[in-house]
Structure formats: C-alpha cells, structure tokens
Amino acid sequence: MTDATPAATEVDEHGSESVDLAGFVRRNPTVTLGSILLLAILLVAVFAPLLASGDPQALNPIQRLRPPSAEHWFGTDMYGRDVFTRTIHGSRISLVVGSLVALISVGFGLVIGLVAGYLRVVDGIVMRVMDGLMAIPDILLAIALMALFRASVTNVVIAVTVPQVPRVVRLVRAVVLTIRERPYIEAAQSIGTRFRRILTKHLLPNTIAPLIVQATYTGAAAVLTEAGLSFLGAGTPPNIPSWGNMMAEGRTYFQVAVWILLFPGMFLAITVLAVNLLGDGLRDALDPRLRRRL
C-alpha cells in the first residue's frame, strides 16, 4: 500500500495544481499505468468485503468445481468456495506483505547501510554477512526461516524481509561511499559536526531517491516470494486466502478446473506488473541521466 502512495499523490498533485495532468501522463506513461493498476488493486483490497460480500472460507459441497458463471464469476473450487470472493480477499495479504516488507527492509537496510558505509570499522564484517545472505537464493532463505517458525503472517513478513535487507544495505552503502569523500562532508567533520548529524543531514537525503525505487522493486519481489512460499506450502497459513495458497490447493484439480488457478494467478501477475511498472517509471523519473538515453 505504501508503494502506491508516492506516485498516487504525485498524479493528484499534478492534476490539481499545475493542471498539466495530460502532460504528466504523456511524459510518464509507465508510472501512470503502474499507479492506476496498483490503485485499482489497492481499492479492491480495501473494499474486499463490499466487493465480495460472501465469506471467502464458506464451504458449499453441493456447488463443487463449478465453472465461471453469473452466480460464481470465477467459478468455485473443490470445496465449493467462491473463487471470486477468495481472489478478491487474497489481494489483502499480498499487499500487506508487499508493503510491510518494502518498509521494514528499507528501514533496516538504511540504518545498516549508512553505518557500514560511514564507519570503516564495522564495514568489513557487516558486508561479509550481507554477501553471505545474498549468496542464498531469496526463496530458499525464506523457506529456511519458515522451517523454523510457525506459519503466520508475521513470520512470513520476517522470512520474506531477511533476504531483501542485504540489497538495500548494498545500495545505501554504495551511495554513502561515493559521497563520504566529498569536500562538504569533510568540512562538516572539520567543524566538529556530530556523527549522527552527518548521517541524518548529509548522507541520508542523498539515499532517498534510489531508495524509493528500490522499495518498489522490493515490494514486487516480496509479493512474488510470499506467493511462492504459499504455493510451496511454507507460507501464509491455509485459513487465510492468499493467491499462492489458492493456487497450491487448486493444483490437483488443474486439469478439470483451471479457473481455481487461473484467476489468482492473473491477479498476482497484474499486481507484480503494476509495482514493477511503477518502479521502472520512478527510476527513469528520478534518474534523469538514464532517462535522456531513452
């Protein structure tokens, strides 16, 4: 959800203040498309109980494996549960995990990266640990952590966050390393500016633009990893409808009832696409050097 906020407000501001909404859309087609898609999914998630008023867990054994119809738009699954209701409600877990992971990993990554980049003493050790964590493929690292915990949404968020933190740390550290030798930092040090002030007033602002872009990509990766974990049976507990869970449950019935898999799968892909488009657009907008090359 946080992923959507910056771009969404941006669109509003341009629309109301400068009245040049058309210009903004023309200059940033990917940001626009990404934010519209993401906003739509966000609204779906927020108003899920209104859009699909039924209970996503309600069993109806008589109506098992019904194909999509006027009554059940996306059909029903092997327990007769309404796939539309479940898909709509499933958007909630994806967006919650995606935005929480983006926020938390950026938060941790920022602090660790700033300190590692600025204090050479801790840099070596911190970066070796980060390199080690990055050597373990994301989903395997998340799986390993889930194997230790009880399945719950909180634990999924933790397990998905850990593999993302090193990427943020690297990014922040790289920015800090290029800036720390600049004369104005030296000047600040020479007049006795405190360590914390240098970090927050001089180094932090320079990391914000790349971090916003990184946060969107992290959100997309988190949505994918959560779905992957749930699909493998090591993620969100089965009593909460999530797109990964639905696809895992529908696997056995795939050849007779493709809709159980198809609809959550499409929603998942569209969500990730929306966040990626937003990230690409923001990257181009925030890095004018890259943009001019296009």
Binding site: R128, V129, D131, G132, L133, M134, A135, I136, P137, D138, I139, L140, L141, I143, A144, M146, A147, L148, A220, L224, A227, G228, F231, L232, G233, A234, M247, R251, F254, Q255, V258, L261, L262, G265, M266, L268, A269, I270, V272, L273, N276, L277, D280, R293, L294
Partner: protein, 313 residues
C-alpha cells in the same frame, strides 16, 4: 592474474562461512529434538539422553559448528531424518534433472535475450523497442508457477503437443528429453530472459553513443557487424555479470518449477524436505545451491579478462 585469482578465491571463504553459520544455526535452532525423533515413540528419557550424548547434542554451539564444518569439508552433509540416507547421496541422485533443466533454461533465455536486447537498443525509442521491453516487463512480472500453468493449459491440455509433467533423461532420447523440458524451461526462463534483455539493452545503448561506433558506421560496416562486433563486445561485462547474479533467481525458480512439472530433481527434494521438516536435507540443499551461486559468480568475475582485454588483474 594469479595473485588476483588467489585473492578472489580467498574472498569466497568468508561468504561460505556465513552461509555455513546460517545453515548450521538453522538446525541448531530448529524446533523439536532430533534425538527424540531418532529414538522413536517408545524411547524412555534415558534412551533419548544417551542418543543426545552420542550425537554430541550437549556440546556448546561453536564446538558443534566446528565439528559440523569438519564433516562438511569431508563431503559429509549429514543424514536425512526421514529416509536415513546421507544427504550428499540424496542430492547426488537428484542432481541430473536439475542440471538439465538449468542448462536448457539458460540456453533458451540467453540465446533469446541477448538478440532482443541488442535489437531494442538499436531501435531505441521506436515501437520495436517498446514491444520488446514491454514483453520483458511482462516476463519479469509473471511468477514461474503462473506462467507454468498457463503454458501447460495451452500446450499440454488444449493443444496436447507436450507432456503435462515428468522427466526423461537425455540417454533415453533427445526428443522426449526436450519435450519434457520445453515448457519448464520457458516458464522458468522468462524471468531470466527479461532480466538479461533489459541489461543488454541498457549496456548496448550506452556503448552505441561512443565515438568508435560512429567511426564504424562511417567506414561503412554493416549494422550487424557494428552491433555484434563492436557494441555487444564492449557491453559484455554488465551482461555477463547479470547472467551470474540471475543464477540466484534461476535456483529459486528451479525449486518451484520442478514442483509444478513433477521433475524429480533437487528442487523437488527441497520441497519434500520442507514439508517433512527434514532439516539436514534443507541444510544440504541450501549449502549446495549457495555454493553453486558463489562459484558461478567467481567464474563470472574471472571471465571479465576474456571478454574485455582491457581488464587486467
């Protein structure tokens, strides 16, 4: 060069030690008592205590880690809790399908992605570029299991061209081998392909604005030779780097792909181990996969010298 090689080899050590520490802590922190599991339901507290002692479970963390690393260095990855077979052997039995899948996927992804990226860079800003890059963003956004089921639905169930699942070793015949691996490779390769196509486009685009490219055009070289001989050659380093880093994505995808297509490889072993909470197997698989990742990226670093003779170590 040799000094660099040795330094670079040594630099992988701390990475593997961190991976090892993490993986070991996994077993150390794992809920449940392996001694109780091994002893069975009928064991008394005394029996369990004896087994704990025998397994060395009462030793301190670092002592156990040292012992575990020593065994690891001798190729001993421990014993599966459930099948009671050595983890190294379990992985060895399953490695062939996984290697085959990884090889066909990389072949598919790289052979398509690099020309796509060059074409997009050459036609930058036109509809060709937008089409290719749009395709790449799509490939990037479709999770392996979503594209996998879409492909199965289209090519196996509707068209009945390819098998729904399974694996045929290469020695049985090239036809069935490829028929089984075609859909998994495409499903798994799409993300990888998107990643490589994007970086190829960016780095070729950067090179295309160089003076020597204009010179090459001016002296009348055909566009193809300029693009491949001059532009791609100079854009090689970032492309190869991303191919190496993308191995991580590929490995994660292998786990899911094998599960969808019923391929009896290391990925399936992983999923079975998670569901059964077979910690030694989970440990072994993570170690092997991470080792492969580190090794591939080591090779990538060393390959820079061959791609770009200006780079000297």
């Amino acid at each position: 060069m040799y000094v660099y090689l040795v330094r670079r080899l040594i630099s992988t050590l701390p990475v593997m030690v961190v991976v090892g520490l993490f993986v070991f802590s996994l077993l150390y922190l794992a809920p449940g008592d392996p001694a109780a599991l091994i002893a069975g339901d009928l064991a008394t507290a005394d029996d369990i205590a004896k087994i704990r002692d025998k397994l060395g479970l009462n030793e301190p963390f670092l002592a156990r880690f040292a012992e575990w690393s020593w065994d690891l260095a001798h190729g001993d990855l421990g014993v599966s809790i459930f099948s009671n077979l050595p983890v190294a052997r379990l992985i060895g039995q399953r490695i062939e399908p996984t290697l085959a899948l990884a090889a066909t996927t990389m072949l598919f992804a790289v052979t398509l992605a690099v020309p796509m990226g060059i074409l997009a860079a050459w036609k930058a800003g036109t509809w060709v570029d937008r089409l290719i890059m749009g395709f790449a963003v799509l490939g990037f956004s479709f999770p392996v299991f979503v594209s996998a089921y879409l492909l199965i639905y289209g090519f196996s169930i509707r068209l009945e061209w390819l098998p729904v699942e399974g694996y045929t070793p290469l020695r049985v015949g090239l036809g069935p081998f490829l028929a089984n691996l075609a859909l998994p490779s495409v499903a798994l390769g799409s993300i990888y392909m998107a990643l490589i196509a994007r970086i190829t486009r960016t780095s070729v685009l950067e090179v295309l604005s160089e003076d020597y490219i204009r010179t090459a055009h001016a002296k009348g070289l055909p566009a193809f030779r300029v693009l491949v001989g001059h532009a791609l050659k100079n854009a090689g380093v970032p492309i190869v780097t991303v191919i190496g880093l993308g191995i991580g994505l590929l490995i994660g995808g292998v786990v899911i792909t094998e599960s969808v297509f019923g391929i009896p490889g290391v990925g399936r072993l992983t999923v079975d181990a998670i569901l059964a909470r077979d910690y030694p197997v989970i440990q072994g698989v993570i170690l092997v996969f991470s080792g492969v990742y580190v090794l591939v990226n080591l090779l990538v670093d060393l390959s820079y010298v061959f791609i770009d003779p200006r780079i000297r170590y």
